[in-house]
Symmetry: C2
């Protein structure tokens, strides 16, 4: 297991051990002793000889035995010194509790860079700095200054925020939530969330991985690792810092919409990470994922002893990806045989307020057997007749045999208390309200769905890469960081895109000549390096179906553009084939600093500009993912054809998205690209890229 | 106060009193005694002489004194008998605990009708039947079979579901939530949620009204009462049963979109009711509404001793209607003067993990004074140095003086426990996580915003009502429940709508003649009583700009329609003015069974059909509400003008919506109406109603 000696060291040194109770260097030793760490403990302090009954050594060097883990709580410069000694002495792991690094300003940032370098050089793996430490309940290691040690459990938790660690631990102690490992990542100078995903993924004591993240440095590796790990175990994360930190100047719709939050959303989706919005959701999901099998499908049966909560649960199902199961006829019949006539035999199954435990028992018997039921939610309100603890026992009994998840919402507090405790003790999740149970079950179903998909295959796209490389090289040499329309279109052509037939015309006469060659109707568009939104200045005229119309349009465009942008350099007017009967879409990408090429797709025009009806994925993507993107936008039915229109060539659109993704991967210097509009013609007729913007990274 | 004697009776009779412990008729008496009801108690049972030390009477009639309230727990037929006796004896209030009425099938429903009739005849106000009873903590009345009595508090709670009552009460006992009144409405044979809103609105012990509803019978009165009451006190409701109970056959987009859920949403919005989705939200909101002043504005300051939770709170603000306050320069200066240099002096204000209580104290001093701050959220994680209880005391001290709300999220459980208890005891709300505090504050700000709006004024619209009455009368007599296009347009004209110039043409030649009169370009549309979606069958052709084009279009339409609908009766083709440069919208209404005319507005075509980007209000509406409807749809910017287009005549659109609302109120027999499309021309040029459907209620 990765970081084995961090979690299960045979010996631990505490550098900065203190003789003063209340000091961190003292608490660290107390925690080691109090929670019965089994290995050897070596306190290090040049001025002391004994702390809490342990022999103290003046320096790490003086310890006569091998040390697996050093916990370091000294001033920042001494931290660096200690890491060096660790390297020399063969200490493999270090936890740096000390603050005063990156978080403390430019001076500290320099120290942290130095710490990173030393860690790399010396081969010592470093957790922190500026962290609370870590806890492993299997090895009885509490290498932290946190007050308390959680119970043993199957949840592995890591957090980038020390405060979140402290708050979650305090809450978990109160709620008696068990953990396998509990890790405060601190500034992540060396050990990162990626190491944690790998380590917890390999850890046999962990079956759910939880985390609180504020940012990821190496997004690509993060996704790769998360994809692998989440095939084995669920990963549930909070990603804080959703607020966009001041959008930078961007030149395309893709650029303005494809912010960091979109990138994280895509990354989580593509790697099967379940996202929680709050700490409460984090543990709501974890309870069930840690204890219950995943549902094989979305069909839920709700068993309740009261109408109201049943309705509430049904509402919640209705608004989720889950469905209310349609019970088999024989199930309904069986229910009828033992429930009173006033009961509800359909879903939600209401066994009425005067129910005793036997009705729950028999109903569960039947529901567990019904193949139309993928999951069961058991609701209980503490009526006068109900035996709460007995009902809990019955649920546990059925859950042991059932091959489907059972989640509970025993509602209330005082009367249900004993039952809830019994449920928890036997690994049955219980929720405060039915909505939370439904929300959690939805996440379980999403995970099952994700697991059942075949592995993604990334197609390789043919392209004339050397020509593109030449074009980009030329542009860079000439200091052109926004490609000209001509170059942009040549790039697209090299990646297999179809372009509209186009000619540049400098005069009315040339325009008419061009239109005749192309065939009427045509479009006229101003060509100027200084005008980016051509429509807004009256620089575009559509559907010109005669020589006369072309002539007049040429004159009108020139007049309008000159009056609105008198200083613009005008190269002429481009005469273009008018693509008819096609649907306008936008495809583009922006290079995210953490995750690389973030692809965007949306229906064109108002759908993107006003309704922001767009969707994102990170390249590389598979054919299936490209198709998902298209289906995900709300305006997708437009492509299928509305009001008797022909369906659009979605298959060609998939190819277009894949080609753009390939281009993004092939040329990392492209920071932003957008094809707008891409016209999708009826099925079998392909797409036409009408306009494109490509921006190269300034060097 | 309405229902005074229900909540504060001087004497109570318990009809169906039982000598057997564990029976409801026994528990009812136990609860009266146990919670120290001060008035007289008269158990009624023909077979007993004494229960729990109280003298038992054989019948209500035998009680020698005046009785204010009868609690009834006998078999349904005996309930009816008892109500009669109550009437004769002058008992004003009855709580019917007994089940076996409407909820028990057709037999029970008959009994309930009889109960309703008797209640009306006898003048006895009846709570229930099939309810848990009620609790009033001021009069020490526990007229219920619930186990437990909540503490005194300012929250009035009513519930249509008895199970919810039991669950909420059990939970409240555990959480030590105080209540003024606690009412189980049961089947609502007589006393309804409307009575409760009035009674709790008048109750001086209640300052927040909470409720759980499954349905409302008299929607119009409900809204009127809620509007008045919520001006005085906040009303927070859960509305369960969101799932649409199988949409009925409907003939318009309005009909298919304007379901019961939309009506409730509009009703809550228009009457200032705050909607909670779960019981947890219900009490989250209640805590703060009951104890804190409303924020004057949306600007929030976040004070925290740790970065992570601060980021989480800022994220939540960013995704709400709230804003992060921009602190005054002098505030920032003052913060700098006493906080360590590594602290964050901007919002969120991070006073760092080593903070003691003094930093919270001084920072609150400054934030309370800053006029740019409308509300404060105080976050605390239990770090090693923090004094949790002291910090709670400081918060309470500042909150007492501050004229702005202060909400807390002391995170964790064990370490923060004492502080949280102190906060609660002194009326400062504390939340499990920062997101809940932000969510609650948002609802408080929405309430403040609602309260600050001037009273709605409902304009009276001029209309030729007698002509409309005549048209509808004729249609009804002829058994036409869907008005013909001609009649529908006459109705609209009578309400001041502008219609496009139109002529009916039976031949090509007539069509050309008509087009010449109207002026080119024109639109041709098939006229047939059998075809409702004209576009789908090729029955519409636009933009015909010459006699030749009109002739060809006529032929084409006839051909297409005949081939697709060979059996349709065809009256001819309507030749219409082609309205240019206008935006397509839809306005309509459906008559909701509970709430009456539910108005819908949306941008036309795909925006309604595919994106379902629509909004609802219940008539009557004010000018401001009509404007709100228009602004609420996501596609509203299209009306303001995009890409250099002229802005549309929104003011004329407001008038159109108001006219339609008036029509809906004037003619209750219209069950569904839709103007689709209504074309909104540029500012100053008005709207044109191109097509309309009106359906009359079948008698």
């Amino acid at each position: 297991m990765l970081l084995e000696k961090l979690f299960n060291p045979r010996s631990v040194a505490i550098v900065g051990a203190s003789t003063h109770p209340g000091k961190i260097g003292h608490i660290l030793i107390e925690n080691m002793l109090k929670y019965k760490y089994k290995g050897k403990i070596f306190p290090i302090n040049p001025k002391a000889s004994e702390i809490l009954g342990l022999k103290v050594y003046p320096s790490l060097k003086d310890v006569p035995e091998k040390i697996d883990l050093a916990i370091i709580a000294v001033k920042p410069p001494a931290v660096l010194e200690t890491i060096k000694i660790c390297g020399e002495k063969g200490v493999e792991m270090a936890v740096v509790i000390s603050a005063g690094f990156k978080e403390a300003g430019p001076e500290g940032a320099k120290l942290e860079e130095e710490l990173k370098r030393l860690a790399k050089e010396s081969g010592v793996r470093v957790l922190g700095p500026n962290c609370v430490g870590l806890i492993d309940t299997s090895s009885h290691l509490n290498a932290s200054f946190a007050s308390g040690m959680p119970e043993k459990g199957k949840i592995g938790f890591f957090s980038q925020s020390g405060a979140m660690c402290i708050a979650v631990l305090d809450w978990a102690l109160g709620e008696k939530v068990g953990f396998s490992k509990f890790i405060s990542l601190g500034n992540k100078a060396d050990i990162s969330e990626i190491d944690m995903l790998i380590a917890l993924g390999e850890d046999k004591n962990t079956n759910v991985i939880l985390g609180y993240l504020e940012g990821v440095e190496d997004g690509t590796t993060f996704i790769q690792v998360a994809q692998e790990v989440s095939k084995k175990k669920p990963i549930v994360l909070i990603k804080a810092g959703v607020t966009s930190a001041g959008a930078k100047a961007v030149s395309s719709h893709t650029g303005s919409l494809a912010g960091s939050e979109s990138a994280y959303q895509a990354a989580f989706k593509q790697s099967g990470i379940i996202r929680a919005r709050t700490v409460i959701e984090l543990f709501n999901y974890a309870y069930s994922l840690a204890t219950q099998p995943l549902p094989k499908g979305p069909r839920v049966a709700i068993l309740t002893n009261s109408g109201g909560p049943g309705i509430v649960a049904a509402d919640a199902c209705d608004q989720s990806l889950l469905q209310l199961a349609r019970l088999k006829a024989e199930t309904v019949e069986k229910l009828r045989s033992f429930l009173p006539p006033m009961a509800s035999f359909f879903n939600p199954i209401d066994i009425l307020g005067d129910a005793h435990v036997d009705r729950y028992d028999k109903a569960l018997d039947v529901l567990v057997e019904d193949d139309n039921v993928d999951a069961i939610i058991v609701l209980l309100t503490p009526t006068a007749t109900i035996e709460v603890e007995e009902t809990a026992k019955t649920v546990v009994k059925h859950a042991k045999k059932a091959k489907k998840p059972i989640l509970c919402a025993f509602m209330g507090k005082m009367e249900v208390n004993k039952g809830v405790r019994y449920l928890k003790k036997h690994g049955i999740p219980n929720y405060l309200c039915p909505e939370d149970a439904v929300d959690t079950l939805e996440k379980m179903w999403q995970r099952q769905h994700w697991l059942s998909q075949p592995p993604a295959e990334y197609p390789h796209i043919q392209a004339n890469r050397s020509h593109v490389r030449y074009l980009l090289e030329m542009a860079k040499r000439q200091g052109r960081y926004h490609l000209s329309e001509k170059d942009a279109k040549e790039v697209l052509k090299a990646y297999g895109f179809t372009l509209p037939k186009t000619h540049l015309a400098r005069t009315k006469e040339e325009a008419v000549e061009a239109a005749k060659k192309i065939g009427f109707p045509v479009v006229l568009k101003i060509v100027s390096p200084d005008i980016s939104h051509k429509t807004d200045v009256g620089g575009v005229m559509l559907n010109l179906d005669s020589p006369q119309a072309v002539k007049e349009a040429f004159t009108e465009i020139m007049l309008k553009v000159r009056s609105k942008n008198p200083k613009a350099a005008i190269y002429g007017v481009s005469v273009q084939e008018m693509v008819q009967g096609a649907k306008e879409v936008i495809v583009g990408f922006r290079r995210d600093p953490q995750f690389g090429p973030l692809l965007m797709f949306g229906m064109g025009g108002i759908y993107v500009e006003i309704l922001k009806d767009v969707t994102f994925r990170l390249a590389p993507i598979s054919k299936r993912e490209a198709m998902e993107m298209i289906r995900e936008v709300k305006s997708y039915p437009i492509l299928r054809g509305v009001r008797g229109e022909a369906p659009a060539d979605v298959s060609a659109l998939v190819d277009a998205i894949l080609a753009l993704a390939q281009f993004a991967l092939d040329f990392p210097e492209i920071v932003e690209a957008e094809i707008n509009p891409l016209l999708v013609k009826p099925v079998g007729q392909g797409c036409v890229a009408v306009d494109a913007r490509l921006s190269i990274k300034k060097e």
